[in-house]
Symmetry: D2
Amino acid sequence: MAGSKFAYVKSFEIPDLLLPKTFIVARLDGHGFHRFSDEHGFVKPNDERALRLMDHAATVVMQEFSDIMLGFGESDEFSFLFRKSCTLYNRRSTKIISTLTSLFTSAYVMNWSRYFEDMPLKYPPSFDGRIVLYPSSTEVMDYFSWRQTDTHINNLYNTTFWALVQQGEKTPTQAHETLRGTVSSQKNEILFNNFEINYNEIDSRFRKGSVLVREVVPPSLSAEGKSSEADIAGSVSAKTLKPSKKPKPVYKITVCHCDIIGKSFWEEHPYLLES
Amino acid sequence: MAGSKFAYVKSFEIPDLLLPKTFIVARLDGHGFHRFSDEHGFVKPNDERALRLMDHAATVVMQEFSDIMLGFGESDEFSFLFRKSCTLYNRRSTKIISTLTSLFTSAYVMNWSRYFEDMPLKYPPSFDGRIVLYPSSTEVMDYFSWRQTDTHINNLYNTTFWALVQQGEKTPTQAHETLRGTVSSQKNEILFNNFEINYNEIDSRFRKGSVLVREVVPPSLSAEGKSSEADIAGSVSAKTLKPSKKPKPVYKITVCHCDIIGKSFWEEHPYLLES
Amino acid sequence: MAGSKFAYVKSFEIPDLLLPKTFIVARLDGHGFHRFSDEHGFVKPNDERALRLMDHAATVVMQEFSDIMLGFGESDEFSFLFRKSCTLYNRRSTKIISTLTSLFTSAYVMNWSRYFEDMPLKYPPSFDGRIVLYPSSTEVMDYFSWRQTDTHINNLYNTTFWALVQQGEKTPTQAHETLRGTVSSQKNEILFNNFEINYNEIDSRFRKGSVLVREVVPPSLSAEGKSSEADIAGSVSAKTLKPSKKPKPVYKITVCHCDIIGKSFWEEHPYLLES
Amino acid sequence: MAGSKFAYVKSFEIPDLLLPKTFIVARLDGHGFHRFSDEHGFVKPNDERALRLMDHAATVVMQEFSDIMLGFGESDEFSFLFRKSCTLYNRRSTKIISTLTSLFTSAYVMNWSRYFEDMPLKYPPSFDGRIVLYPSSTEVMDYFSWRQTDTHINNLYNTTFWALVQQGEKTPTQAHETLRGTVSSQKNEILFNNFEINYNEIDSRFRKGSVLVREVVPPSLSAEGKSSEADIAGSVSAKTLKPSKKPKPVYKITVCHCDIIGKSFWEEHPYLLES
């Protein structure tokens, strides 16, 4: 063949296989989203439209990658848990993470105008992705606890910071200064005493992030429909994604904003960590 | 800190650094584009809108990643050459390929409607990415020769195949049968004798793919403007991408459809392979 | 410093860290031992001197690397199991396997003349090493079952083959021919009917390989002494290895030739798989 | 087969291939040689017996691994340069470095008594190994310059230090104190003024380390013999190493103590860096 004298360059491709039978966690992060959120008028401290768009993109990803059992999102990042028996793309690391990041980005951009009706995209947003392997379920539970703890810490800080700036008429510098060294209880008090905000009454979406769970639909229900949350992305799921060739168990992706630190969530969803 | 008992999970992140001083080639491929092109009515054998959209997305990538010296696109794939001194993201492999794939995808989706005005996206397209390292310029030149040879082979086949189907009223199966075992000269003859198509007069975009070159704009010109090709993506470049903080040499990304097999292209652009 | 202009070359060293909290299995194999055993007059099918020397070298390795809980040897290979919490050399893969292979080789050569008194080394023997990670204890148990099954299969074949050659006056080619396609029971019958060898009465060292277990010595015993098996390598342990700086639990390495396929071995030694 | 239910554990072996067409440098370092040299009475600052034994082991390695073009040794470390076209073991990294480290160790221990006649080994010495890839000859030359610069710096320091201790009746602490912050010229002056030692007259073996070069023996000479240096290891070469099955160019390994910093060495041996 004409190309054969050059084909040796293919031998420089080095395999990058992920260890079998380990949990794969993929985490995506918005690239330069501090600026992106400014330029696109995100509401501070939390923009519900932006968070719902992230959930939408993550739902598309979980509908396409059937090995993903769980997603967790906060701010401009999303984590996905693959079942440990996953053999997608022969467990080629770069293939998995690049395709997943691409699909997430694609769904984010394609659905932007659903959530930001009057704000056209000024430039293309992007995400980076990474893969981390965990050998046992203990580390997986701790990973998601780590992310949700991060959500809590960041959201309490940001909520208090923006209250000081938006309602307390502090400059950003002053607000940071006020918060320096404070512990959680002190931030709660600032919110309550100064702004009559009871932190625990804030929307759980903001305090706990988004938890996307793959749930098996019992056969009797699977013909009927999806949950209301899944309906958000329903048209994507039902009409546009590649139809599976062989019959598979019917799943739905549900979105909630529940607690995943501690054991009870995992005890209620034991199959998430099964092989 | 509250999260510290879980932070150990971060220690499972394993570095994946690319060998310094080697050429990085990143190649993106459309994921499931056979179906995607069918569902979105791509013209066969080549859809100029789709190819221009690929070029557009690649231009955005090259404007953002200043270490990319050269791009080469054909069909639903694009290759990018980073200069070998590149230290982007400390040469973390997954960080580079996931961000690049994400930005390409983002620009592709965001600009879809410019090229496909009457064809809304039915579902989010995605790409996979891979990275290959080459130690010397010889292998880099051979890599791009390999891809352009592939363009030639595929395009000659597809052009003849679709002529047989569209004008010759063959079924796809018959057309494949007709072409089985033929060499290039025979396909050329089929085109010329049966369909009065002189293959060499076909648009070079189809025969040679798209070559995107980073070119330094001489200081006297850099205040004025961009080449007409760059104007395609001009608004992206000028208005929307992150402004650089320090003065840098001014580049423009030019698109052509020239020959990159053999030495002359590289001799005319020696800086593409310099450190 | 004078060397500083060259020190950049150190930046080409790429880290190769092993995933934390996974079991590390290191396996060493004799390099070219078919020829080595011929040149040094190894008794066929099994040379007890050679096997004892392997055990000796493995004992030295386990005395030096306190994270190794278990060793298994057969023929010219040895496998070692590190506890999954091991942080030796920061879990740098090449550092671990090169040092371990080196020490094993060193002990093998240094102690050669103890076991081969009248056979000086004709040339330096060498071993290759590899590392495999296993995420859970199930795979670890299956790994060692795999190796001991291999011991059984090889030893039954070799025992029958050499009986045919040494006592049955077959040529090697004829002996291989006789054995082609036979199952275990047929080989057992050949041994019993032709040579009055009851395979199950053959030394368990040959049939089951060598199992080296790290065992904690109860405090009341640790002042006294080692088991008789450990005495083989006693002088190495007591006099020559680096004295530990801080008091550690006292271990002894015991050698046996027991069954490790199935659960009972692991149930009797549960700490081997603990963190 | 009986073992097949366990054979899946083999799938956990992950390939670790080295990028093609890059120079492979392997470096071995003595493990705990500070103590080893004390326990075995090494002469300070340099023990010629120990250095000659290192050279001997390195010669054995270079005779066995025909892709190694160059070796450089100092103190208890040795570096080896493989030609960049090397395809040994399919460029499996761990296989290469473990086998090489093993053979070096084996030759070191086996030949110990030739160089240390009255000093039996008290315990088995070991080495660690690492592999570094370099894409171009510039970096390879700089690598070896880096190591020889290190030799110079260490040897000048050690020579002065031990002169102060052995002849100057300083304690080690006082000697380190005297040398703190001194530059090369000051150490030279201490040696000359206090101890009448002209540093440049010290044996070049100590000042420049050992350079082992693979040299092609012209056909007319190859039947005759080896250089005197090669004779040191002659018996190893001629009698004990695996005879090659096909005729190869005849090489000899020569040992010298020459300058490899700068261009002249490489200009005199251009084939060392060729493909």
